[in-house]
Amino acid sequence: MCAAVNFNISYWGGMSVDQSLLLEMYRRMGLIRHFDEAVQKLFNSGRIPGSAHLSIGQEGEVVGACMALREDDYMVGNHRSHGHPIGKGAGVNALMAEILGKATGVNQGKGGSMHLADFSVGSLGESSIVGSGLPVAVGAALGSQMQGNDRVTLCFFGDGASNQGYFHEAMNMAALWKLPVVFLCENNGYGVTTPNNRAAALEDISARAAGYGTPSSIVDGQQCLEVYDAVTEAVERARRGDGPTLVEAKTYRYHHHSEGPLYDNMTYRSDEELAAWKLRDPLLLFREQLADSVAVADLDRMDEQVKQDIAAALEFAEQSPLPEPEEAYTHLYRTPVAVNEGELSNG
């Protein structure tokens, strides 16, 4: 970790941000990028069963939103679950071990790629049922309000999830009860292969907030600091008891919905479109922004550190043991009951 240099700088947004915070943002964005590049390699070599949904291209909005939170705030995510907990501050070792189904995984090998939730950093679950995290986030916020603490819950959801009934129900209850929740729509333009304009009548999901009397904004999801500013304002509103905010981050995923050959020859988006978004890579944009305030050598050192951290996470995951088969029968209940384990027959 690079030494924190605690002087204030100004950037285009006009807000003073501690330089160590900028470096931490840069570090977490880099961790997500390198983590997912490593996952892609593992997947392509057949090491990961099932599916993998990568956050590459969306690191700016993930980190910008998460860094606007306090450590003890809550965050709820979705199936594209690798970036969110890293953004919230989770260690990458247990996440990588989970990807490989190891006993040391954050979920002890029971959740896998779509459910990388690290509750120790307030990451309350990454659900792969699209939209289902929305009311859960509202519930966490209700809990905070009832307990009289000032914790805020951040809820990531996609443009696809905004078409689920859950979105309406969650927005309505959060507004009705003035709950401390920030809804962060990661609008990456597509639900699997269906473009948003074929799934919703309105282009901007944020426009729907007016129907609940909830403030909203649209931000450039490729600009980490723009997201950070908008979510910081939303978090402050939530913390002082003024209720929810909807922030829509326009972003893009550089990979398909998930890894694997399923989408290889799909033409739902053009090469030109992808290339244009890659010119607006959130890591490159952020590095350019930092050029005036952070020494290039510091950024390079951070890049090197991130690569080492991911290499160490891979090493940790590879060296970790697989769970014992009997572990398949634990964690179903917290208050134990006799469970019918079935009788397996192999003939």
């Binding site: 809550y74 709820v76 995984g105 954050v106 979920n107 002890q108 090998g109 029971k110 959740g111 459910h115 939730a117 690290d118 509750f119 120790s120 309350l124 679950g125 659900s127 049922i129 289902s132 929305l134 009311p135 859960v136 986030a137 509202v138 519930g139 966490a140 916020a141 209700l142 809990g143 905070s144 309000q145 009832m146 307990q147 819950t153 009934g165 859950y166 309406h168 129900e169 969650a170 309505n172 209850m173 009705l176 634990t330 964690h331 179903l332 209940y333 917290r334 208050t335 009951v337 006799a338 469970v339």
Partner: protein, 323 residues
């Protein structure tokens, strides 16, 4: 001892647990108004946040309960009518039942979901579900089916203190039924069946309001010299298989009485369990009495006869002694 209705017993359990633990709260449609009678006085005592009226959005407010439970609250969700749970089933199955397991024990969902079954009352197909069996098929949920005021209170208090999601199916036909409950506090453990009527010739396992009908049948059978043992499982998940198997080992005959539908129902599950583990003790084929695999009609002329009553149960028990 006090003589109270089933619903008063439920109300007592809720009030006592809310007074004991400030993380316990009640939520659902119209709960503050005490429409059905299980939340009377709670609004005055605990205020509108702990007696939380929700919009009509079962899937959403079930998710809210789950999120609140994740951060240390203990919600009691009142669905009023069990048929409305279908709207919430994604949250019950995908989140409540799976979160502890899927996240490797990092979290758990201490929430109670109360649902009343109103059948045999002319409210037709969409309001008459007796759907506990569906949720028995979901690992991670616990399924409770109280049959009298004493059990309703003791099991609900246990459910509220349980660390896992518990579904309580209350038989609306029993809500007005009175029973004795002790003045002092008590809880009833999950997974312990109640032998409601001891006997030695035939075992009758009955669920919810079928328990009372089966006891009546057992009393009638006794006059004919047939000694029937009536077992109320109290909880279907976990199921007290030992008590049922011990009874069958003694009687050699098993009759299952269930107001739910027949296919993949609770009766079928218990029958399969006994067929696997108690087959050599059986002296006659296992028999099920259930509602038919048919939607519930509106007219009482049509619905009458769908649910096994004492006469039907006694008749079926006698048939187990025919060669």
């Amino acid at each position: 001892m006090a003589n109270v209705t089933f619903l008063e017993a439920v109300a007592q359990a809720q009030r006592e647990e809310m007074a004991r633990d400030e993380s316990v709260f009640l939520m659902g449609e119209d709960v503050s108004g005490n429409v059905y009678g299980s939340s009377g006085g709670l609004l005055d005592e605990f205020g509108p946040q702990r007696v939380l009226d929700t919009p009509i959005c079962e899937s959403g407010f079930t998710g809210v309960a789950i999120g609140a439970a994740m951060v240390g609250m203990r919600p009691i969700v009142d669905y009023t009518i069990a048929s409305f749970m279908y709207l919430a089933t994604d949250q019950l199955v995908s989140m409540a039942a799976k979160s502890s397991y899927m996240y490797g024990g990092q979290t758990h969902i201490p929430a109670v979901f109360r649902a009343a079954m109103f059948y045999n009352g002319g409210i037709a197909a969409q309001h008459s579900d007796r759907n506990y069996s569906m949720y028995m098929n979901v690992p991670g949920l616990k399924v409770v089916v109280p049959s009298n005021p004493y059990d309703a209170k003791g099991l609900l208090k246990t459910a509220i203190r349980d660390e896992d999601p518990v579904l309580i199916f209350e038989d609306g036909n029993l809500w007005g039924q009175k029973g004795e409950i002790p003045d002092e506090e008590y809880l009833l453990p999950f997974g312990q069946a109640n032998i409601c009527h001891a006997g030695s010739d035939v075992t009758i396992v009955a669920i919810a309001a079928r328990v009372g009908e089966s006891i009546k049948a057992a009393e009638a059978l006794a006059k004919e010299g047939i000694s029937a043992e009536v077992i109320d499982p109290r909880t279907l998940v976990p199921l007290d298989t030992a008590t049922i198997l011990e009874s069958v080992a003694k009687t050699g005959r098993l009759l299952l009485v269930d107001q739910g539908h027949r296919t993949c129902g609770a009766a079928g599950e218990i029958a399969a369990m006994v067929a696997e583990k108690g087959f050599w003790n059986l002296q006659a084929p296992i028999k099920r009495l259930t509602a038919p695999d048919m939607q519930i009609p509106f007219s009482s002329a049509l619905e009458r006869g769908f649910y096994p009553d004492a006469a039907m149960i006694a008749l079926a028990a006698r048939e187990l002694f025919e060669e």
